[in-house]
Structures are given as C-alpha cells and as structure tokens.
Point group: C2
Chain length 144, copies 2
Amino acid sequence: MFSKSCEYGIKATAFIAVEGAKNNRVSLKAIAKAIDSPVAFTAKILQLLARTGIITSVQGAAGGFEVDQSKIDSITLSQIVAAIDGENIYKGCGLGLKACNANKPCPVHDKFVIIREELKAMLESTTVKDLALGLKDGLTYLKR
Amino acid sequence: MFSKSCEYGIKATAFIAVEGAKNNRVSLKAIAKAIDSPVAFTAKILQLLARTGIITSVQGAAGGFEVDQSKIDSITLSQIVAAIDGENIYKGCGLGLKACNANKPCPVHDKFVIIREELKAMLESTTVKDLALGLKDGLTYLKR
DNA sequence: TATAAATCGGATGTTCTTATCCTATTTAAA
DNA sequence: TTTAAATAGGATAAGAACATCCGATTTATA
C-alpha cells in the first residue's frame, strides 16, 4: 500500500511523538532501533519529514528529533504519506490512467472511488496523537 | 495501489474478455495497442495469466489470447491481482509488519482493517464480466 | 511441405526504490 | 577551546520493478 520509506516515516513519527510526550528528544539511532529500520536510510526520511515541517530536527551533541507537542493533534497520517509517497494512493486511478475520471472512467473507476474516498478520509482523520496513544499505553507495536 | 504489471494485467483481461464476447481472439500486438502498454512486457504478463488459468493462450499463426466465456462470471479482480501482485495488498499490515494482528496491532491496525476488508470484498465481488460490460458499451476506457 | 504469423521464454538492459558509506557541519559539555 | 556526539547531505551500491531483444517453438494456411 505504502512504500517502505513511508512505512518507516509513519513508524518513526509515532515513536518520536510518544517519546516527546515524555519530554525525551530521540536520536536517529534510537529511532532506527525502535522501529527496526536501517539507520542511514531512516536518516534520509527523517530529513525529509523535517524539511516538510512534520518533525523538528536538532543538530549537534544531544541533538535529535522531536514533534511539536502542540501539533500532534493537527498533523495527520495523510500529511506524512503525502510528504513521502505523494497523494497518488488515494487520488490516482486504480489502473494508473491519467485521464480517468467520472466522465471518462476506467473499468474499475466506480469501484475504486469508494475505497479511495474512505482511505483518504481515514488518513486525514488519523492524527499523530492517535498513533501515539496506543503506543504509549503499550497497546500497539512498531517492530517485526 | 497495484504494480504496473498488475494494471496491465487487469486492462488486458478486460480487453480480451470484451473481444471474446464478439468471438474475436486477440493477438499480443492488438492487446498492447488497445491498452497502450509495452509489447514484450505485456507478453510476460499474459504468459503469467495464462499459466494461472485466468486467460487461455493459443500458439501459432492466427493464435492469440482468449478468456473462457463460461468463466467470465467467476473470474474476479481478486484472482488477477493475486496472480500478479500477490495477496499482500489486502492481507498485509499497513506498516509492513509481519507480526501485526489484532493481538499485537501496529498503530494503524484498526484503521486499516476496515479499508482492507472493503478492498478485499470489492476485488472479490468484481468479475471479469463486470469489467467487460462497461467497456463493451463504451462506458469505460482503457487508455491514457 | 514451405512459409509466415504468432506465442514462449531466456538473457539482457534500464530505471526506480532501498540501502550504505563517508565527509562536513553543528553544538553541548568537559 | 577542544572534544565528542549528533544531524546534513552528497556519492555510491544493491536489489526490485519495468522494459527490451532475440532465438525457439508452434501452427494455420497457401
């Protein structure tokens, strides 16, 4: 469904948010360990998320990554996915046709419209806070 | 959502079904032209679909591809997708975790279960006949 | 029976995603 | 002010997906 980059990005953001709630700034290494991802590759994704403003990076010794605690209610899964994979997952045609729309539908258009609308609604209504809540309480997991 | 191979496979099957309803056996070239896909690459996908039994291939002069008209009601989108992309789209975890399930859910598990169930239901309930109907009547399109 | 049209399938090439490596820069703290 | 710990980011490598090439095989038809 999502690219591996995107999966890492979602997990990383969730982890950073949880630790942030405990006032812990987390390092790249700690993130990669927590979400079981390759360190250097994860760095690229974190840089991208930082440039997009979804997370904040702090350079230098004792540096690391944070998510603005005042924003965890407004940053959505949709924004993370858009930053990494683009919006094609829930906007593009199910058969990859550029000209596909209600006026010139592909054979699966009507069937996919419903799914994609729901996917979009779900991504837009799920916040970083939502992701973090279960994690914080140990109800959900990030590994394997 | 699907791989490019899968998109070609779905389009090709739909096209073959429509022509089959008119008693036309279609060649690789004709298929690639109709669905605007690379010829040799499309050949591989058609071979795969033929091996899986979703379509039938006829070798030699005047050969080509067909779909058994008695099966167009029972062959589903789900089967085409499974043959080409596997079942991970609607079975796998949204974050790519192998151990993710209701007992050990990832942070997006509950949100995705609903979407994936609907996607699965949609793919399983959409038959080749469904795909072909709109095309036959010129209501849906395969190109661009 | 020879020919031409078609699929089959192995080998190879290209492009994109994923992953690694290494150096530069930043910054807290000794 | 030096050191060490950390992110930034360019360069490169490995792997998978996408695509092409070409010879082998099959088969209808002239």
